[in-house]
């Protein structure tokens, strides 16, 4: 395929092209491929240098089996692992279920619900660092806002939020729900709005109204997207860092850490990067099945991520 030939082909009129379509098509395919490769080079380079290499490097750092023996002998690690499971299991499920219910509320198109939606989505746009720090200070004893509110209502001093492990963990989960529920509400709202009205009309004729409409029409139609969103959110939440880092900071006495913050402290405060990587990699037995399940659901249902 010489360049002069190509110029000639390009120079021809459309009518002439039509008659010779097959040859023209085959020839351009070749040059298209080289263009495509050229267009892909920046992305592939970024991917190899800043995603694939760190992944491989991380796997290499956490490859030694002795690291896992060390981890399991650390009681803090066991607490951390349990915390992470609780954080994901409770945080994601409560958040998703509430987001699903609230998306129904926001289907109401009156002016005040629509303006409320705008404000309600604000946490999604705000930096996690800022809002989680603010929530942290709300929980501080003596002068935190929640403490003041408690005193205004009951007249007593508020509970010591960050002194009890259970309460600090609850605070982490509530803060996490506060930050991420709006985002998923929006996703579910979009999914609800794409359900055609005639399905509801038909259901109405068959006698489904009120809560039956929710159970027999809306939920089955949204089951796929609900499942996929939950899986995706589980994967992301397993590696959640800012919530716990800022809200409870592991308090009291590093009993509310999750894997990401535990690994962070091991690597950068105590100087054991390999142990930190191993802590995060210990999520892989959960992470990999979740990702496989997610990918298969995405393939099977054609839901676009």
């Amino acid at each position: 395929m010489s360049s002069t030939q190509q110029v000639l082909t390009f120079g021809r009129s459309i009518v002439a092209e039509e008659s010779r379509r097959p040859r023209w098509h085959i020839r351009l395919q070749g040059s298209d491929t080289s263009w495509a490769i050229a267009f892909l080079i920046p992305y592939v380079a970024i991917f190899v240098a800043f995603v694939a290499y760190p992944v491989v490097f991380g796997l290499w750092m956490g490859a030694s089996p002795t690291l896992y023996g060390l981890l399991l002998s650390d009681p803090r690690y066991v607490t951390t692992a349990i915390n992470t499971l609780l954080f994901v299991a409770i945080g994601v499920n409560v958040k998703m279920f509430l987001a699903f219910l609230l998306s129904g509320f926001f289907m109401n198109r009156s002016w005040w619900v629509r303006s409320l939606l705008v404000i309600y989505l604000l946490p999604w746009a705000l930096p996690g660092l800022v809002v989680f720090t603010s929530i942290h200070f709300m929980l501080v004893t003596q002068w935190g806002l929640l403490d003041s509110l408690w005193r205004a209502v009951t007249g007593d001093d508020g509970p010591l939020f960050l002194v009890s492990t259970a309460m600090a963990m609850t605070a982490n989960i509530v803060a996490y729900i506060w930050k991420w529920m709006p985002f998923w509400t929006l996703i579910f709202l979009a999914a609800r709005m794409s359900i055609p009205q005639d399905i509801y009309d038909a259901a109405e004729i068959d006698g489904a109204s009120g809560y039956r409409r929710l159970i027999y029409v809306t939920f089955p139609l949204m089951a796929n997207i609900y499942l996929i969103c939950t899986l995706l959110s589980c994967v992301w939440t397993l590696g959640d860092f800012p919530t716990v880092y800022f809200v409870s900071s592991g308090a009291p006495a590093r009993t509310t850490d999750v894997l990401a913050t535990y690994g962070f402290h091991e690597a950068f405060d105590f100087g054991y990067p390999n142990l930190g990587v191993a802590a995060m990699m210990s999520a892989l037995p959960l992470l990999i099945p979740l990702v496989i399940l997610l990918m298969r659901r995405v393939r099977a249902t054609g839901v676009q991520l």
Partner: protein, 293 residues
């Protein structure tokens, strides 16, 4: 049962039920409003309290005082001596991430969806995997690798990380949105003698503009709101961003929390402005390709 009721009673019942539903909706609305705004209000409350060391623990600022904002503006406290420089760093980080993500993402998605590269699905699958990956898990090896690249304490190391994490989403969204643009446009341009580069520049980019804005806003907010990578990769005062500077207050012995919250409020303003200004594009970015059936 309903047959026994007179129409009047039935109508009154219906009206009653409608009133109750409305009251419940308004109650829920008020709760959501308070729930959403409470942490935001707390930021303002702390920023407006001039007595930084001994907070009074009141529900509203006893004597609202904008002096902490003035101090941040004039950089007259040692922890925020370079505030505007750091603000510019944050902005630089956000804008560079945005530009590179849009450029690299659009090039890749054009190659994958318009030029119909064989085996292109491999790249799409890797993009999807990267999108799903929890990024905090990569932080430790990433820091080591940036040392090897000689990029430690450089804004470009954070930009690289953010672009690497944002492009997969860009590719997925653009791929999805691109399906709305008929292939016949490309074909006829090709017949008129346009090279793929010209098709990309003259046809693809202009028609994809709404999706490109959505992707750009996503990348900008990702880079602006992210914390972990900025904290790990930027250490010197000259190179650090506002997010890292805020965290420095925790490591200091003094605790001028009102200054810290004033910085936090100022730092939150650009995302809030973007959110209110470009909300439509952000929402569209989710619904046109986003997690949608």
């Amino acid at each position: 049962m309903s047959i026994a009721l007179t129409p009047l009673v039935r109508r009154r019942r219906r009206r009653q039920r409608r009133f109750l539903t409305k009251a419940a909706a308004i109650g829920l609305g008020i709760f959501l409003l308070v729930w959403t705004l409470l942490p935001v209000y707390n930021m303002l409350l702390m920023a407006l309290d001039s007595d930084a060391d001994e907070f009074t623990g009141s529900l509203w600022p006893p004597d609202p005082d904008f002096s902490s904002f003035a101090s941040v503006w004039n950089e007259d406290y040692w922890l925020m001596a370079h505030f505007w420089h750091q603000f510019a760093n944050s902005l630089y980080l956000g804008v560079a991430t945005m530009g590179l993500t849009v450029l690299i993402g659009s090039l890749a998605s054009f190659a994958l969806s318009r030029l119909r590269l064989r085996k292109g699905w491999i790249i799409t699958d890797f993009a999807l995997l990267t999108y799903v990956l929890p990024t905090a898990f990569l932080a430790i090896p990433f820091v080591h690798i940036m040392h090897r690249y000689g990029l430690s304490d450089s804004l470009w190391s954070v930009i690289a990380a953010m672009v690497a994490f944002a492009t997969p989403y860009a590719i997925l969204i653009l791929h999805q949105y691109g399906k709305l643009i008929p292939m016949e446009l490309d074909e006829s341009a090709k017949v008129d003698g346009a090279s793929p580069w010209q098709i990309y520049l003259r046809i693809y980019l202009p028609l994809m503009a709404p999706a490109l804005v959505a992707v750009g806003v996503y990348a900008l907010l990702l880079a602006w709101n992210e914390y972990l990578y900025q904290y790990l990769l930027l250490s010197s005062t000259r190179n650090m961003t506002v997010a890292v500077a805020i965290n420095q207050f925790f490591d200091s012995d003094e605790a001028p929390w009102n200054y810290m919250m004033a910085i936090a409020v100022i730092y939150s303003l650009p995302p809030i402005a973007i959110y209110f200004g470009l909300r439509r594009f952000m929402v569209a970015g989710l619904t046109m390709g986003g997690v949608k059936g």
